[in-house]
């Protein structure tokens, strides 16, 4: 109403056309956008619009999450910092661990949380979700769902098997059991036979299943799942005996599992999965972490190809580090590395050159596998009461 009248003499930034204002405000962190909603009605309307919120989420930097112990006498890390590698900014985000993360939403225990809006909701009002595998967006429906495993109620010859389930967040439906992962075929050359051979196999309801994934102890999933093109890539090992790295893929649309041949990484070396240029990638390094090899999954053939080698600036790391070991991790699509050592977190580029460093006092920073990309998009599951 009278606003336009009062402002017409202005030729300053306050009278920027809305289209341009949109371009400016999508570049702000979530907290600043919330403050902008108090500036005036026009700004409040613009920054509450869904198209704005989607563009805002897309513009947000990927924040890497670093856990540390605020005080030395604590047994568990009790502080989570977010680090933006582009701006070099660092700020606290939470006082607890995240169990999963996707599109600005995180799972903490049995609840879903948006750190940007500080909204909470239970994952389910009916069942208690334990043994979470991952959080994802089901593309066809836009629903957010979790994959988890629990003790199966199906009668079987196997002692106490587990089953995998999918649960839609905010729905009152029961979790949907997913057919258990099939056995990993053992490579022919190893078994000296023309027939595919399986080991550690059980049978449930007439279907062969991979025991390592469904037995009572449950599998060990390493790191966070990598979400790419509707697939969830899971790096797992068995609790007992063989220590081979394995990659299990969950197709979030078809809701089925398949095994991907793992990259040629020595079982005793550390392997980490991540995404690079829209492809699945894996890094491998020895315990001492002085160098790292990067493999990329080829889209057409599903074969792994060696990409490049990174030499870590060992002397430089030693200069900062006060005691103990260090752990390096590829954290960005561009191949940037974060190196955690006692008292410091170091940021290196893909060639291993030191770019920036963050002080962590008398503390051991740990790069947790989940990342956060802030989002102010509203979700119905937060609104239910």
């Amino acid at each position: 109403m009278p606003r336009g009248g009062r402002r017409k003499k202005h030729d300053g930034l306050a009278s920027i056309p809305q289209e341009i204002l949109h371009e400016i405000l999508v570049r702000l962190p979530a907290k600043s956008v919330l403050r902008c909603r108090a500036v005036c009605r026009e700004w409040r309307r613009l920054t509450s619009d869904l198209a704005f919120l989607v563009a805002h989420h897309r513009h947000q930097p990927t924040l890497h999450l670093i856990s540390s112990f605020r005080s030395v006498d604590r047994l568990f890390p009790d502080r989570l910092d977010a680090v933006d590698l582009l701006s070099g900014e660092r700020r606290p985000v939470a006082n607890c661990m995240f169990d999963a993360s996707c599109d600005g939403l995180v799972v903490i225990g049995s609840r879903i949380y948006n750190p940007a809006t500080r909204q909470w909701a239970p994952l389910s009002r009916k069942v208690r979700v334990r043994n979470l595998v991952g959080l994802f967006r089901h593309q066809p429906s836009g629903e957010y769902r979790v994959l988890f495993w629990r003790i199966s109620s199906v009668r079987s010859q196997i002692y106490c098997p587990n089953e995998y389930c999918v649960l839609t967040i905010g729905s009152d439906d029961d979790p949907r059991p997913i057919r258990s992962p099939a056995p990993v075929p053992v490579e022919r050359e190893q078994m000296n036979s023309s027939e595919p051979t399986y080991v550690h196999t059980g049978v449930i309801q007439g279907q062969p299943v991979e025991l390592g994934l469904i037995n009572a102890i449950g599998p060990t999933f390493i790191g966070a799942p990598v979400l790419l093109h509707g697939n969830m890539y899971l790096h797992w090992k068995k609790y007992w005996e063989d220590r081979r790295h394995k990659v299990l893929v969950f197709d979030t649309v078809a809701e089925s599992f398949w095994h991907l041949r793992p990259p040629p990484v020595n079982p005793r070396h550390i392997m980490q999965l991540f995404s690079m240029d829209g492809n699945l990638a894996a890094s491998s390094s020895k315990d001492t972490m002085t160098e790292m090899r990067i493999f990329l999954l080829q889209k057409e053939s599903d074969m792994w190809a060696f990409q490049y080698r990174i030499k870590l600036p060992e002397m430089e790391i030693r200069r900062f580090q006060e005691q103990g070991d260090w752990l390096a991790k590829v954290v960005s699509e561009e191949g940037d590395l974060l190196v955690a050592c006692f008292g410091w977190l170091l940021h290196c580029d893909r060639k291993g050159k030191l770019v920036a460093k963050f002080r962590f006092g008398d503390d051991l920073p740990v790069v947790i596998p989940h990342v956060l990309k802030e989002s102010l998009i509203q979700h119905t599951f937060f609104q239910k009461d």
Binding site: G12, L13, I20, L34, R35, R41, R44, R118
Partner: protein, 174 residues
């Protein structure tokens, strides 16, 4: 990359175009620099702006246009390399330094620059100025934002709405 229909025919010499500001000042620049503007690119590809013709820009005054062209001339070589994947870190650092210096300007100039970058559709400049204004807003309270950007004082009604919002999202002001 050089336009084959270039009128001047001198091989080696870059093709030049003339731009005319709203206050009738003529600027002669390399076609490659002016082509950073999506708006001008088509006209230039069609052979416009050469010779005595010149392209009139009725929305951009000469002070702003000279500033815009300063940006285009600096960024044209990197843009010609297709975002310069082979640029050295030194080149990139130099451009970054130039950009930071470039937007370190008075608000009224910044405003004219935003409007010109938008009208001429110069992508890099658009995001540079948007980032600059975003940095001016970041971390400020609503009242400080209003003052920084030159809003008039809020009416009592606006003030009440502002307070209500600040109360509801108190944690966003910590």
């Amino acid at each position: 990359m050089a336009a084959p229909e270039s009128g001047d025919g001198n091989n080696g010499a870059a093709r030049m175009v003339t731009l005319i500001s709203s206050d009738n000042t003529r600027f002669e620049v390399e076609a490659a620099a002016a082509s950073l503007s999506q708006t001008l690119q088509l006209t230039i590809l069609d052979g416009g702006g050469g010779g005595g013709d010149g392209i009139p820009l009725p929305n951009v005054d000469s002070a702003t246009l000279s500033k815009v062209l300063e940006y285009c001339i600096k960024h044209a070589p990197a843009a010609a390399n297709g975002g310069a994947p082979n640029a050295t870190a030194v080149d990139r650092a130099e451009l970054e330094r130039f950009d930071n210096e470039f937007v370190n300007i008075d608000q009224s100039v910044l405003y004219s620059l935003i409007m010109a970058a938008h009208n001429l559709e110069i992508e890099g400049l658009q995001s540079l100025v948007a980032k600059k204004v975003a940095d001016m807003i970041k971390g400020k309270s609503p009242m400080e934002i209003r003052r920084t950007l030159g809003f008039p004082d809020p009416t009592p009604e606006e003030q009440a709405e502002m307070n209500a919002h600040m109360l509801e999202y108190g944690w966003a002001y910590e």
